[in-house]
């Protein structure tokens, strides 16, 4: 099987690859989401702690 044959997916290339592409995008987004949230949370808490310390 050649590469172009593989990519053509027996004429169903658009359907097969768009399915796998959308799946990849959604799975990656679900990992990036909590990674960013964690960084933001830790920064928020650090800021709040500094503020509280300055007040006291």
């Amino acid at each position: 099987m050649s590469i172009s044959e593989f990519l053509d997916m027996g004429g169903y290339a658009v359907y097969v690859w768009s399915s796998y592409g959308i799946t990849l995008i959604v799975l990656v987004a679900n990992v990036i989401g909590p990674l960013r949230l964690r960084r933001k949370l830790l920064a928020d808490i650090a800021r709040a702690t500094r503020r509280a310390r300055r007040k006291s």
């Binding site: 027996g10 359907y15 097969v16 399915s19 959308i22 799946t23 959604v26 989401g33």
Partner: protein, 246 residues
């Protein structure tokens, strides 16, 4: 000892450390199984005698659909445990499952639609399987919206748990929809009681992807739960220590 482990695990601080050590293993397992699944599914498995190569959408569609049901049951089960025994970690696992569950439901619907176009000649039909899966997506979105609408985390957890438990009636409806009603959607080929009517060369990548998606869910739900735990425990000593050590 076993009991003791679960007792310790339920403490947020211990859970945070333990899940942090687990994550790299889950990520590695997910990536290896996915690569193997893709290789056997896209390269090794022969084209289907009726559907040609379009059937390869199955290797993401079917595991996504399985996960959409599995995660819902976990979410409702953990919600019920949180409701009855007031275990905070169960509440956290329950709500942390909602967005990844919604994502898999979305994927099952979209990849199914993309598969339906060349095979059935239509993107969408209002039949039992498709409609009940769409209702599942709305249940997930409703649970996320309800949780975001309530500020008090404990009250939010109780409200979403009740909604999730009520929504469980939809799960057997989705599963049996292809048997109870006439539908365009094909019947089960793997979860039948007699031998699965799918060739081994197609069954292997399907199962590889299914296990990969399970590991992926475990990874994402732990990542989300860790954020939720930090947020809930932000005023405790161990979280402050964690923030300072970063």
């Amino acid at each position: 000892m076993f009991n003791n482990f679960f007792h310790k695990l339920a403490s947020p601080k211990y859970f945070y450390g333990f899940s942090g050590r687990l994550l790299p293993w889950l990520a590695t397992g997910f990536i290896l199984l996915t690569l193997a699944g893709l290789y056997y599914g896209l390269v090794k498995a022969p084209p289907d005698y009726q559907q040609g190569d379009s059937y390869r959408i199955m290797f993401v569609h079917v595991p996504s659909a399985w996960m959409s049901l599995f995660i819902y049951v976990v979410m409702a089960g953990a919600g019920a445990i949180g409701l009855v025994w007031r275990i905070k970690l169960a509440e956290v696992i329950s709500i942390s499952s909602a967005s990844v569950g919604a994502s898999f439901t979305f994927l099952a619907l979209v990849t199914g639609s993309i598969w339906g176009k060349p095979m059935w000649g239509t993107w969408w039909v209002w039949d039992a399987r498709l409609t009940s899966e769409l209702i599942l997506l709305f249940l997930y979105l409703g649970i996320i919206a309800l949780h975001n609408a309530i500020d008090d985390k404990r009250i939010a957890a109780r409200a979403t748990a009740i909604l999730a438990i009520v929504g469980v009636v939809n799960i057997p409806i989705i599963h049996y929809s292809v048997e109870w009603w006439n539908t365009l959607h094909q019947g089960p080929t793997v979860t039948k009681f007699d031998a699965p009517s799918i060739h081994l060369s197609m069954l292997i990548p399907l199962l590889l992807m299914a296990v990969a998606f399970k590991l992926y869910y475990l990874m994402v739900v732990l990542m989300r739960a860790r954020c939720e735990v930090i947020e809930r425990e932000r005023n405790t000593g161990w979280v402050k220590q964690l923030v300072e050590s970063q």
